[in-house]
Amino acid sequence: MKGIIFVKFNEFIEELWGDEFWDELLEEAQLPSEGAYTTVVTYDDQELFILIGLVADKQNISVKDTQFAFGKWVFKELYNIAPTRAHNIQDVFEFLYAVQDFIHVEVHKLNPYALIPKFQFLSRTNDKLSFQYLSPRKLCFFCEGMVYGLAEHLGQKIRVFQSECEYEGGQCCVLKVEKV
């Protein structure tokens, strides 16, 4: 996983619980990287999952909620470094299509080996959108949080839930987004 995610996770944790908590996590996790994160290096995915698991344990919240919270928080950070064209989009659904159509395409150009999730759109009405989240990393709750962060940024109220989830015995993860 690209270092930017780890750097942002560090910022997220320090913003919420301080640098000592972050230090505590790293001391306990004993990760191969020793927590020396920089945006230009790629790290083992597993390190993020270990850190999320430790946060959940120590803060007494679920892994799902931790992923969700980080996703919601990190959206604005990633939005700032997204292609300028994405900044002109004012609708959640349009933005989600743009993620698939050109934002991930641009990411792929800069990082040819990056493992990028795919959205397979299933249905769309004026106020409902359904798509399948496809990624071997299985960060579907993180994705849910990102969608919330997106809606918050655009000033739209939405509800996001999964009609099917691999963590709950489903074949895949299907996200449903409803404007409210």
Partner: protein
């Protein structure tokens, strides 16, 4: 004095917290340092990768540029070879392109025969700055460094070092190729560059192959052109021979008819002459009458009606008057017959130019019958059913007359001892068919099969040339006439000539 315990505990607590804080910050600093180190290493790797990629791109660009240059050279030389440029233009084009490609200062094209330069052409040296020009000194320099005495085609391009201190030329690149005869064409390129890039040789070899194929094609084209001219001459000679043959055969037919024609002319001439003898007597009578009238007037100074009538009766003037008119009419008719025969003969023997004009088949057949009248005169009947209603065709009157004369002579020959010649026409599908039927001996299949073969004849030696029908067939072919023959032994033969109708 003992200190109170709480402040001490608080102090210890603060110290511990401070130490803890320091430890957290120290670890953070270590992580930051390590992260920075990682980032720097990564940056170095990226920089190296970018440098290597840049170098690789530069090499690829240089390679592409070289390939593009090579392709451009090969493309232009191929276009020259495939174009309609003349041999000289194509080779000149090759000199210009190759001179630029191998970055030589001068390019040369010249021709040798048995090791000696021939065709001293003006302006046979090319340079990019000056174009084509004459450079005797440079030409001599090149000649001195090329194996011109070897009168064979070299198998590839060669390079010779040039020892030229005056102008600093370093090497000459050259090749040769076969031209017509024992001639060799030479291309040479003089350069001041220190060394030759060996990479150009495969490209030059390809261009050389193309040039050789272009030269072969052009030399072959020249040969084909020469042969075409010869062929056209042969065709013209053949056409001329054909015309002569037709005319000769016409004259041969005329020879066969000569006796009959002479007879035809002789008859009217004989009776015209006989009539003229009578006129001579009549003139004598008139002279006597004139004399008697003059004597009577001299003696009596007068001539009465009775005496005049008596003199006229004595001269038989009434009969002479009546007979003279008849004799003159007969003479005019006789002379008209001679004139017609001569006219027909003139038409018949006229050398045609095979220009087809609209003509009447009726008149053509009628003229042919007049010429051949004598052969049918005594033992045969001629039933010519053609009239002016027979459609006109495009044809040469003299030549078609020759065809009918041949058919009529053959018919008469087949009807020795008598018979009937019938001529009529039928029409259909924009064609008019002339049928010529005799009641002669007829022909078997074998004879019919050989009818139009030159020199085939059933007539005894000295009677026919054997060319009559074959020449007729050639004439009919040029008139787009289809010929069929129906014949039965002992019953006779019918020739059917199908002409396209002139619209």
């Amino acid at each position: 004095m003992k200190k109170p315990i709480e402040p001490i505990l608080t102090e210890i607590q603060s110290a511990r917290e401070l130490q803890k804080r320091i430890a957290v910050l120290e670890r953070g600093a270590v992580r930051e340092k390590k992260a920075r180190h990682l980032a720097e290493k990564q940056l170095e790797r990226y920089t190296l990768e970018i440098y290597q990629t840049n170098q690789s791109l530069k090499r690829a660009l240089a390679f592409s540029t070289k390939k593009q240059f090579e392709l451009e050279y090969l493309g232009k030389t191929s276009m020259g070879v495939a174009s309609e440029l003349s041999l000289h233009e194509m080779i000149s084009n090759m000199v210009e392109l190759t001179c630029e490609y191998c970055a030589a200062e001068y390019g040369f094209y010249f021709v040798t025969e048995d090791g000696v330069e021939v065709q001293k052409v003006e302006n046979n040296v090319w340079s990019k700055e000056l174009g084509w020009q004459s450079q005797c000194k440079l030409q001599n320099l090149v000649n001195a460094n090329l194996p011109l005495s070897e009168a064979h085609v070299l198998e590839s391009w060669f390079v010779s070092a040039v020892n030229d201190e005056a102008q600093d030329f370093a090497w000459v690149l050259y090749m040769n190729f076969a031209l017509s005869g024992n001639k060799l064409g030479w291309l040479a390129f003089l350069s001041k560059k220190v060394s030759v890039d060996e990479g150009i040789f495969p490209i030059l070899a390809t261009a050389r192959d193309g040039l050789n194929s272009g030269i072969r094609r052009r030399l072959t084209d020249v040969n084909i052109l020469e042969r075409n001219v010869q062929l056209q001459d042969s065709v013209n000679n053949l056409e001329s021979a054909k015309r002569q043959l037709i005319q000769s055969e016409k004259m041969a037919s005329l020879g066969q008819l000569a006796a009959g024609v002479a007879h035809e002319i002789n008859n009217p001439v004989a009776f015209v002459r006989s009539n003229m003898e009578v006129f001579k007597d009549y003139l004598h009578n008139y002279k006597n009458l004139h004399y008697n009238i003059k004597s009577e007037l001299t003696t009596h100074k007068t001539l009465d009606m009775k005496s005049f009538t008596a003199l006229c009766e004595k001269a038989d003037l009434a009969y002479i008057d009546e007979d003279s008119t008849a004799l003159l009419t007969s003479n005019i008719e006789g002379l008209n017959r001679v004139r017609d025969i001569v006219e027909n003969l003139k038409n018949f023997s006229h050398v045609g130019n095979t220009k087809l004009i609209q003509m009447s088949l009726y008149k053509c057949v009628d003229a042919a019958l007049r010429i051949t009248r004598n052969v049918f005169k005594y033992e045969h009947q001629v039933d010519n059913r053609l009239t002016d209603l027979c459609p006109a065709v495009l044809g040469d009157l003299g030549q078609l007359q020759q065809v009918f004369v041949n058919l009529f002579i053959n018919a008469a020959y087949a009807m020795q001892g008598g018979g009937e010649l019938s001529i009529w026409h039928t029409e259909g599908d924009q064609r008019v068919i002339i049928h010529v039927k005799d009641t002669g001996s007829g022909m078997d299949e074998e004879t019919i099969g050989k009818l139009f073969i030159p020199f085939f004849t059933t007539k005894p030696v000295g009677v026919g040339t054997g060319l009559g029908l074959s020449v007729s067939y050639v004439i009919l072919e040029t008139h787009d006439v289809q010929v069929t023959v129906d014949s039965e032994i002992g019953l006779g033969t019918t020739f059917n000539l199908s002409f396209p109708v002139s619209i």
